[in-house]
């Protein structure tokens, strides 16, 4: 920086002009004051808020194909509806009007659905954005960025009445002088640790259910369908827990990401060793082949759930612990031991 150091200055507070007349100086509140008598004198651009846009992905032919085909389908549907209404009018004008009203209602409903989906997608993007910024701010111990992230997080959970107190408390911390990483840890402890506990219980319950059903189901196909359904349910519940309603498209996106995440992290998820999984599996399968299968399916569900937490959680794990497969494992083997004894 080549900027020359600025000279120290002091102003009597009653000689300054408040740019915001409603402002009352309080601890930590950033007042805006000006030494010039004119309230409009402040004219400076704050370039700090400008954010780098992520690089655009190159368009692929498949995307073009999808766009063209969906355009054709929309045209076909429109044409069909138009033909239908014309046909209805040729029979009777009452039927025709009824058709128009129904088509209009369908259009409104479709629009509402689309808006909901878009809101859901934006929410997911917002969470991903908060996550990324929080991780960066914690690493760099950046006070201002951490403050912005924490404010965004408070806004994200604005509609949760049960978090009212933690939100207020955190709001007070934001106004104090606390270092970047510390502030994000406080946000995590205040807002997300209770959610983590709920998420852990959800995963455990799902895994147990899957293990149980697999053990007692007569056919492999039943297992498959049930595991699929349970995973869908689990991801949706986790997403709702951490970030509100994700919507169908958002949910699909999340599930895809969760499974992709799983593929990347592979068997060594969350610091658990593959050994313990295999050992556990061995132990379970020695008890009974069917029980062992149940345990494996339960573990699979839990792993998808843990991957989904990583994706839905607005902050990285700093002080908190992600649920570990070992916990699920011990719970499941206990279950199978009970099953064996029964």
């Amino acid at each position: 920086m080549t900027k020359p150091p600025r000279r120290p200055t002091a102003f009597r507070i009653d000689e300054l002009t408040k740019l915001d007349p409603a402002y009352e100086p309080g601890i930590g509140a950033p007042p805006a004051l000006s030494s010039e008598p004119d309230e409009l004198a402040e004219s400076e651009a704050d370039g700090a808020d400008a954010q780098a846009t992520p690089p655009r992905q190159s368009r692929r032919w498949s995307q073009l194909l999808a766009a063209a085909v969906s355009g054709l389908i929309v045209l076909a549907v429109g044409l069909a509806v138009d033909n239908l209404i014309e046909g209805l009018f040729s029979r009777s004008s009452i039927l025709g009007w009824l058709g128009i009203v129904l088509a209009g209602l369908a259009g409104v409903a479709l629009l509402a659905l689309a808006i909901r989906e878009i809101v859901g997608l934006l929410r997911i993007r917002r969470i991903a954005d908060i996550h990324q910024r929080a991780a960066a701010a914690a690493t760099a111990d950046d006070r201002e960025e951490a403050r912005a992230v924490t404010r965004a997080l408070i806004a994200l959970y604005d509609r949760r009445p049960e978090m009212a107190r933690s939100r207020t408390e955190l709001g007070r911390h934001v106004r104090e002088i606390i270092d970047g990483r510390d502030l994000i840890e406080l946000a995590e402890t205040g807002l997300l640790i209770p959610l983590d506990e709920a998420a852990r219980r959800t995963i455990l319950a799902s895994a147990k259910r899957v293990a149980m059903v697999t053990t007692i189901s007569p056919r492999a196909l039943v297992d498959l369908v049930f595991v699929g359904a349970e995973i869908i349910r689990l991801v949706r519940r986790l997403a709702t827990l951490y970030g509100g309603r994700p919507g169908t498209l958002g949910f699909l996106k999340l599930t895809r990401a969760a499974i992709g995440h799983l593929a990347v992290t592979g068997g060594l998820a969350m610091g658990d060793s593959l050994v313990s999984q295999l050992l556990g599996h061995g132990l379970a399968s020695r008890l009974s082949a069917k029980l062992g299968e149940g345990v494996v399916n339960g573990l699979l569900t839990a792993r998808v759930g843990i991957a989904a937490i990583e994706l839905c959680r607005p902050l990285p794990f700093l002080t908190g612990q992600p649920p570990r497969l070992a916990d699920v494992m011990s719970e499941l083997t206990r279950l199978s031991r009970v099953g064996k004894d029964a």
Partner: protein, 479 residues
């Protein structure tokens, strides 16, 4: 460095062993609050106790914020021959009168008993859930004496004369230096000469302190003699050609008294308070030194390095830990961080890290954990942004102490001001060089007016990073 005699060491080992034995039922932790005069030791201790007793805002002190501390109370201290720290009076000063406590004139001690529940099952069932925190407050001037333990009279004389002849102090030291040059060390001992030299030397030390605002030159007890005023142990001064003088010469008398000073004043102080610490916080008023210029900062650096060399830093094993206390965590805190906008705190920390660099390296080498913080035990200001000529000045808002002045304007201690103290340099090294003394000015502010709840209860003292300091210093004992 051998600072304590063998007898002292044995006594220390016995005392430590006895304390450890008692500590099995009620562990005690000795926190050393170290800092030169006016670094903010008394305010730090008061704020720490006040926040723990009154349940302040301490989100980063985990044992407290997670609700495991059930209470803290002042208890009778273990050492019966040391006055109690006058906590109540200091709180009254800060909260009701809104003045900073007077500078400390004597040593005092207090014990804070913290009741808590451990987070681990084993400690919860085995431990008592009680930690006694012993804190000692003392005049910062006395601290300057600790390096004397490792020096004899000849070495000290040489260093003191060289220090006085530095260009920055030559004017202040002139009367004493002139008289000292006339005195001959090999002349016959003469009480009148000794008294005269000591008086001039004391006057020079006092002038140095008034000039720099920071006392950096031993012996500290000359500035604050207390009961010992006029005794032979305080009637000596450095001399030229101090070594190799015949018995009953002036030089020999001075050397004898210097040793008496070490035995009567410095060694008991070191043995009773500094050789027995578990944790240490070093408070440094870096802003005052920045105000005074690069030379003062250099003096501060040298003074701190020599003081910190006399502490017993390092990790004690479980067996050696029974008979020896070692400081295993040191926190360096730049105090009065509230006199600066928070955007500059990182730079303040960098400057402090630079000032205490030698001490940090030593401590880390010995195996101790070290952290550097910008701290305000009591936060006297709020923050705001003032725009002037299209430029945003990150400012602090508070009431300056009466008599503080900036740009020819003297404040009366009544009205609030918004103040921009100047930008701290981005490169910490530059504060030591001459060019840096341009555009920094820190005023001193009055303690804050406390907010009151609807019921009229006053809330705890506001602070900056006091909770983080606590977490580092005692957090692991409450885990």
């Amino acid at each position: 460095m051998q600072l304590a005699s063998i007898a002292d060491e044995a006594r220390l080992a016995l005392a430590t062993f006895a304390e450890r034995a008692v500590g099995i039922v009620a562990p005690s932790l000795r926190l050393g609050v170290t800092g030169l005069a006016r670094a903010g030791k008394t305010v730090f201790i008061t704020a720490l106790v006040h926040n723990l007793i009154h349940g302040g805002r301490l989100p980063l002190f985990k044992a407290y914020s997670s609700g495991r501390i059930t209470g803290a109370a002042l208890e009778p201290q273990p050492d019966d021959d040391v006055p109690r720290f006058d906590y109540e009076q200091h709180v009254r000063d800060l909260v009701d009168e809104r003045v900073w406590p007077d500078s400390t004139r004597r040593i005092s001690e207090l014990r804070l008993a913290i009741r808590y529940e451990s987070a681990t099952f084993l400690n919860r069932s085995l431990g008592r859930g009680l930690l006694n925190l012993d804190i000692v407050d003392y005049p910062g001037e006395w601290l300057l004496d600790l390096p004397l333990l490792g020096k004899d009279y000849v070495t000290w004389s040489g260093e003191a004369l060289a220090f006085a002849r530095a260009p920055a102090r030559q004017g202040l030291a002139a009367p004493w230096l002139a008289r000292a040059a006339a005195a001959r060390a090999e002349a016959r001992e003469d009480e009148a000469v000794a008294r005269e030299l000591a008086a001039l030397f004391t006057a020079y030390l006092t002038a140095c302190r008034a000039n720099d605002h920071i006392a950096t030159e031993p012996p500290g007890r000359f500035l604050m003699p207390g009961d010992l005023a006029g005794s032979p142990a305080l009637t000596f001064a450095p001399l030229e050609n101090a070594g190799g003088n015949p018995a009953s010469s002036l030089g020999a008398m001075m050397a004898r008294r210097y040793e008496a000073y070490k035995d009567a004043v410095v060694r008991p102080f070191f043995r009773d308070h500094f050789a027995r610490l578990d944790r240490q916080i070093v408070l440094v008023d870096a802003l005052e030194a920045l105000n005074a210029g690069p030379a003062a900062l250099g003096d501060l650096e040298a003074a701190l390095a020599s003081i910190l060399a006399s502490f017993r830093v390092g990790r004690a094993g479980w067996l050696t830990g029974l008979i020896a206390r070692r400081i295993d965590r040191i926190l360096f805190a730049a105090t009065k961080a509230d006199h600066l906008h928070h955007g500059d705190h990182d730079r303040l920390e960098a400057i402090l890290a630079k000032v205490v660099e030698r001490a940090i390296t030593q401590a880390k080498f010995a195996g101790a954990q070290v952290e550097v913080l910008a701290l305000a035990s009591v936060r006297a200001t709020r923050e705001g942004t003032v725009t002037q000529h299209g430029e945003r000045l990150p400012s602090i808002i508070g009431t300056p102490l009466p008599g503080e002045s900036l740009d020819g304007r003297v404040y009366d201690g009544a009205g609030e001001i918004a103040m921009f103290p100047g930008d701290l340099p981005e490169e910490a090294e530059t504060v030591f060089s001459r060019q840096a003394e341009t555009s920094l000015r820190f005023l001193r502010f009055r303690p804050p007016k406390l907010e009151q709840t609807a019921e009229g209860l006053s809330l705890s003292l506001p602070h900056i990073r006091l909770d983080r300091a606590l977490e580092f210093l005692i957090g692991d004992w409450l885990a």
